[in-house]
Amino acid sequence: MSKTIRFKIHGGRVEIEGEGFHGPACDAAISRFLRALAGEVQQIQMKPEYYQPIVETQEVGQDA
């Protein structure tokens, strides 16, 4: 799944929504924009996907 950051800009405020991230990767991606906007965060809401573990698959049993 591709990782995107969606911005809704209105009324002098910005709503930032991370999509396709898991856990701290989302914090890192969003925080650079928060720093750029020098924003005062009013609300943070974690989506269920935030808490999903990152599963990495690896093929085993085959020697090179």
Partner: protein
């Protein structure tokens, strides 16, 4: 989706502020003065005002009986609009300032996408305009 953040913003980057003012479509680049130090603002009769600003649009480009319009850098590095009472009642009100801030935010996000090497585009969702940055790496 994994996280949703709402934030208010402040204007710190003069380049993005000027870009936002230009995109309002009312002024050309030559009509927006950018100074490293604050300069005097003048009233509609050419009288020098006590207020100063680093970013200035002179009164002849603002309106018929207008005063100079400015954005002054505060000690904390943020820019505050300097708008006369008259102009505040003639088109340069809170709604106008909100449009400037929204434009600034748009420019700042574009600048950050370019710095990060992210591509971006404008999309419409539920009739609302969104900017979408595609994160790579």
């Amino acid at each position: 989706m994994s996280q949703f953040v709402t934030c208010t913003t402040v204007i710190r980057d003069p380049q993005c502020l000027v870009a936002a003012l230009l995109k309002l479509g009312r002024w050309s680049e030559e009509q927006i003065e950018v100074h490293s130090e604050a300069v005097a603002l003048f009233g509609y009769q050419g009288d020098k005002r006590a207020e100063t600003s680093e970013i200035v649009i002179r009164r002849q480009h603002v309106g018929l009986a207008s005063n100079d319009l400015g954005f002054k850098r505060a000690a904390d590095g943020t820019y505050q609009a300097v708008i006369s009472e008259y102009d505040g009642r003639h088109g340069y009100d809170e709604a106008w300032l909100t449009r400037v801030v929204d434009g600034y935010n748009r420019e700042r996000i574009i600048q950050e996408c370019q710095l990060a090497g992210y591509s971006y585009q404008v999309e419409t969702r539920n009739g609302e305009e969104h900017m979408v940055a595609y994160v790579t790496g």
